[in-house]
Amino acid sequence: MTTQHSQAARDVDRRPGLSPAPVRRLGDRLFAGTSRSAGVLILAILAGVAAFLVVQALPALTAPRSEVPGGHGVAAYVGPLLFGTVLAALLALLIATPLAVGVALFITQYAPRRLAQGLGYLVDLLAAIPSIVYGFWGIAWLAPRLTPLYGWLADHLGFLPFFSGPASVTGKTMFTVGIVLGVMILPIVSALTREVFLQVPSLHREAALALGATRWEMIRLAVLPYGRSGIIGGAMLGLGRALGETLAVAIVLSASPGLVSFNLVSSNNPSTIASNIALQFPDSTGIGVNTLIASGLALFVLTFVVNVLARGIVNRRAEFSGGS
């Protein structure tokens, strides 16, 4: 007892003596400096991405409007592409989010616990497949199977602007792109949603069940409200991914750059920024390259904003649940 006391007293005595002048060896300073500069380098890279894109985009912004591809200046060139990009990404989000929430519910609430991890891994495999392979799949497997549907939609729902036809016979439509992108972002949305669903306090769930709620009522009252910000954050991350997706769109979409149209089932579709760059860049020279880089800058800004918002939502949620 007494020894413990004096030990503690000595610790207290010693502490103020040590902290003002900690020993800083050369190796320590070097190592701390190197790792710190690696972190700063990442900030520099991100700033560099913006800076170099701006530098290479400037010639297109200052060039006479007639020299820019299309002949009406950069804004007129990028505008329709931006429209197509957002349209395709929103379509993908519309398709992926309900499915992703369903998959997350299945894995966290419905599937037998022993199977759940393996099934989750199966869904994660979707995220591992390279985007170009999705393009192959989209054009060879998916598109031909969807053409009858497009014909039917154009015939029976043609009064809606989305399905006004004439229906594409190849299936290389905006709708197909939306499905392919939806499949590609599904694992991202579902991974985050799943994580949040797993954090739902079992007390909430058990309380709901104990009151006689059915499983669905328990989910609606306890799981979904708790996981809402996770769903929103995951969907935004997926949106960011869908906006920047390149090769899958480039392969699947039959695009007419410059077109602005809500028609999802015809063979004339607005192009997207990323796929347009992939298709045009290898054969472009001079101002054409600068214009494409300017469009890439627009895409960078758009995805940056979406990702910052998404991360903001996800992080706020993480802090909140960490506190409780």
Binding site: A32, F106, V133, T246, L247
Partner: protein, 311 residues
């Protein structure tokens, strides 16, 4: 009973009210809703499996035809129509991916060490947040950035293997940082404290105690990061281009890579098209096998090299 538990779980209150007037008919309806939703949730999972299964099946079915010795042993020099292979593209992919790893792993690992062991205050917060945002940079934008960077020094139209590596590094670094950060956080604080108590300097503690403890997780993270970038096509399309011959020099001229090879064989097959399209599908199959193989290796690393926790 229901009122007792209501304050504990906010969800309970609304169940209680919704159950208050529950007659037989409404109970039947609730059961029906429950069954419908169960059906929908199972359906969502089943629908999700369709793309995965059909994709793997389709790629294997179409790609298996040219999965032969010639495919791996020949380049595309002098090939019109039949024959030809990906010898040049496989080496291009390996070299560019290797360079990417050499650039990304030290930067990513050191950043993770900074964030976990040294970082404080605003700089740490800023880096953590921007690394997250950086994972969302579209791959084509990373390619344009690398091109724009090198075009300033080498003039427009430049295509080099090393530019592709720089572009892929922009995509790989944040993935490495995130996974390494997670793993380093898992190293027990007791190990650090024990090391400090023995008078070991901090940097030696990191190198000799923390990194060896975390090595399995770090290996898994790096392998998954490689799997993530090895199939990237868009950045290589704008920075490395394509060539028919074998070029093993990343600082001299265009190189062939597996994904870009697959893309051009499918979209510009030439006449007659069927041979090139076969090659494209086989290249896609090889890509999938590479990615799946790397995922498997990552799992094996984490299983067999994990530190013995005694739990």
């Amino acid at each position: 009973m229901s009122q007792n538990s209501a304050p504990q779980a906010p969800a309970g209150a609304s169940v209680a009210t919704s159950l208050a007037g529950a007659g037989l008919r409404s109970r039947r309806r609730r059961k029906a809703t429950d069954r419908l939703m169960t059906f929908l949730v199972y359906g969502a999972f089943a629908v999700t499996l369709i793309p995965l299964l059909s994709l793997v099946f389709e790629v294997v079915r179409r790609g298996i035809a040219r999965l032969d010795g010639e495919f791996f042993n020949s380049s595309m020099v002098g090939i019109v129509g039949k024959g030809g292979g990906v010898y040049h593209a496989i080496f291009g992919t390996l070299i560019i991916t290797g360079l990417t790893v050499v650039i990304s792993v030290p930067i990513g690992l050191l950043t993770a060490i900074y964030l976990v062991e040294y970082g404080t205050g605003r700089l740490k917060k800023a880096i953590t947040f921007l690394v997250d945002v950086m994972t969302g940079i579209p791959s084509i934008v990373a390619g344009l950035f690398a091109y724009a960077l090198f075009a300033i020094f080498f003039g427009p139209g430049i295509r080099l293997g090393i530019i592709g590596s720089v572009a892929l590094s922009v995509l790989m670094i944040p993935v490495v940082v995130r996974s390494a950060e997670e793993v380093l956080k898992l190293v027990p604080t007791e190990l650090r404290e024990a090391s400090y108590a023995l008078g070991v300097p901090k940097w030696r503690t990191i190198v000799k105690v923390i990194l060896p403890t975390a090595i399995a997780g770090l290996g898994t993270g790096v392998t998954l990061a490689i799997a993530r970038i090895i199939g990237e096509t868009a950045p290589l399309l704008v920075t490395v281009g394509i060539t028919n011959a074998t070029n093993l020099d990343p600082v001299n001229g265009r190189m062939a890579t597996l994904p870009v090879f697959a893309y051009y064989q499918l979209t510009q097959p030439g006449v007659p098209p069927e041979f090139a399209i076969d090659r494209a599908w086989t290249a896609a199959l090889v890509l999938i096998m590479l990615v799946m193989g790397l995922n498997l290796v990552a799992r094996l690393i984490s299983r067999f090299f994990a530190p013995k926790t005694g739990r």
